[in-house]
Amino acid sequence: MRALNQIAQITLVNLRTIPTRLGTSLVVVVGIAGVVGVLVSVLAMSVGFRHTLASTGRPSRVIMLRAGSDSELSSGVARDQATLLASLPAIARDAAGRPLASAELNVMVDLPRKGERDPNNVPFRGVQPAAFAIRDELTLVEGRIFTRGVREVIVGRKASRQFAGLEVGSRIDFRDSEWTVVGIFTSGGDVHESEIWADAEVAMSAFRRSGFQSVTATLADPSDAGLAVLKDTIARDRRLSISVLREPEYYARQANVLGTLIDVLGYSVAVFMAIGAVFGALNCMYSAIASRQVEIATLRAIGFGGAPVVISVMLEALVLALAGGALGGGLAWLYFDGASLSTLNFSTFSQVAFDFRVTRSLLVRGLVWALVIGAVGGALPAIRAARLPVTAALRTG
């Protein structure tokens, strides 16, 4: 009890004197704010990117690609194969008995970002009518759905925000053809929102393709047993060389390379900055105790123990660190949360648009980093403070 009281007393005195040492204290706060700010904002990018891909697809749906292909771009599914796949009993049907399967074409079109001129690989998806029943998360927020057999497209909201000329009513020129944008859609912030969709048949003739790239379908039985039945049927059919993946599995794979790259960048920069900030915190806390030598020695002389002195210095460092962490995290949240950007996903070779996501767990992670830096930076000075020989310290004053 007495020890606690002592700790409280000294710590309060320490904290109250922070304003007189504003300069050095500010160094700790700013230094740690820098680390946490950079860490949180870079990781917010990777969280946003992973979130976009992770929220794509449902476990009850599968994507079928040519065996050996990891992405739609390198896959190829011939028309007769696509028909065959749709007719399999393991695929769900709608009320009218039509299979919930959409054979799709996935090509890329060159579009500049808003206000720029250089082309970007924007994914263009030709879908069959069942696509909308399969992906019921898709909702139109503006305009209407394209008419079958006509050169009309609907555009994901993120694509429409990132790339030029994708507003309802605007005309875009791909291949020897002009297409009209007739609608804007959302689909829960997933990867399809970076895409342009059109009728598969029209797209195939315009892009002079004779085959599809993938077939997306709803499983009749979404359990592992249902999936096994589908895989089994396909494996036994000599006409088919197709690999089947649940959608979430397929899209999670695409997040790996780029997501890891951003994480590595964020953490390595933050580690370096944190080392720098530790030196800053050490400096500050050393000078803090240097300026309080006499005070500390006096306390020791009148009977305060060593432990309260150590703890009080540590607490001061932690309070400053926490302030820095909160400042850095707050700034990152203020400036970046929800900001959107797009980049080339190496796994699909096409653009994917996503938002920075400054999540609560990221902010907590930032504060933890701040506290660790504060603890490391406070420990050595705290020990020195407690070891200070009382008489020598009093004499310096």
Binding site: M108, D176, I275, L282, N283
Partner: protein, 386 residues
Amino acid sequence: MIRLVWAQLFRRKTRTVLTLLSVIVAFLLFGLLQAVQVAFESGADTADAGRLLTTARYSIIEPLPMAHARAIERVPGVVAVAFADWFGARYQNESNAFPVFAVDPARYLDMYPEFTVTPAHRAAFVKTRTGAIAGRRLVERYGWRVGQKLPIASEIHAKTDGSLNWEFDLVGILDAEDPAVQGNTDVVLINVAYFDEARQFGRGKTGWYIVRIADPSQARAISAEIDRQFANSPDETKTQPEKEFAIGFAKQIGDIGALVTRILMAVFFTILILTGNTMAQAVRERIPELAVLKTLGFSDRMVTGLVLGEALLLLGLGASVGMVAAVGVLPALNSNTGGRFPPLFVDATTWLLAAVIAAALAVVIGLPPALRVGRLRIVDALAGHR
């Protein structure tokens, strides 16, 4: 004089060493991040002004007929034409472990004189139909040996028997002297003669053309003329100087430069506050000593110079050590990422930039206390501090 500055700087060892360490870390980070940025932009920097790139007009993934080569060769001002096709490699079950291009060996190697291949390797590649040459960093990373079989699967191209598993003979090694170019050699080149004959689909098509022109100042006119050859055909083209293509491609990834700059601004702002505070504190403590120096006959300007010199020394020392550390760290980093990522290196511009930043920081940090000290009146200084 220098000894005096040195003595002042290390008056309080712990404080100076700690400050110095944070400056070192900041510049180490600067060196590394600049290297990343340079690597991203190296495509544009190493571009040859005498080379154009012809791709399909609407998307770079669309194939073009090989027959385009003859038409491009006939365009006035064109000296040579090479082409390459994307193989879509999967190696040891890793998708796109490295790029593999199907090329005409002689045409392709002639197009890139900055690549180095021994004459024996080149000859072997030209005459071996199933031959392949690989970048030196890839060879080192995977422990390949010239003469071995190279089993590489394709995610795109099946052989006539329907199999996606291909096998090539590694007959040579591709390298480059310039580290900025070396990233471009992180590829496996295979002989198109064999590839085109053995593939099931897409025969007679290729991915893109590389065109050498005699006069780089004519690049735009010749590009337009090439595209005019195929206008309104089913296979329209888009031709642009190699540099423009590289810049455009880097932009697809996004503005790496802006990201790096923002991070570095945060780093240096922190350093500014940290070092500035330390300097101000150090000078404040020393006011009586400086007053004594003035009493001994040091002029105002000399005392100002002393303090400013101290800031310069601190930043200069920290910046040099940090940059040297960055240079020292990079080779280890590169050998771990061989082929996955272009080689990182610290170029001359980065050194220059580091020097400028260090000097600017030193002035911003050192000037205010230096001027204050210069204006110091001896009597006040000595009186105030006792």
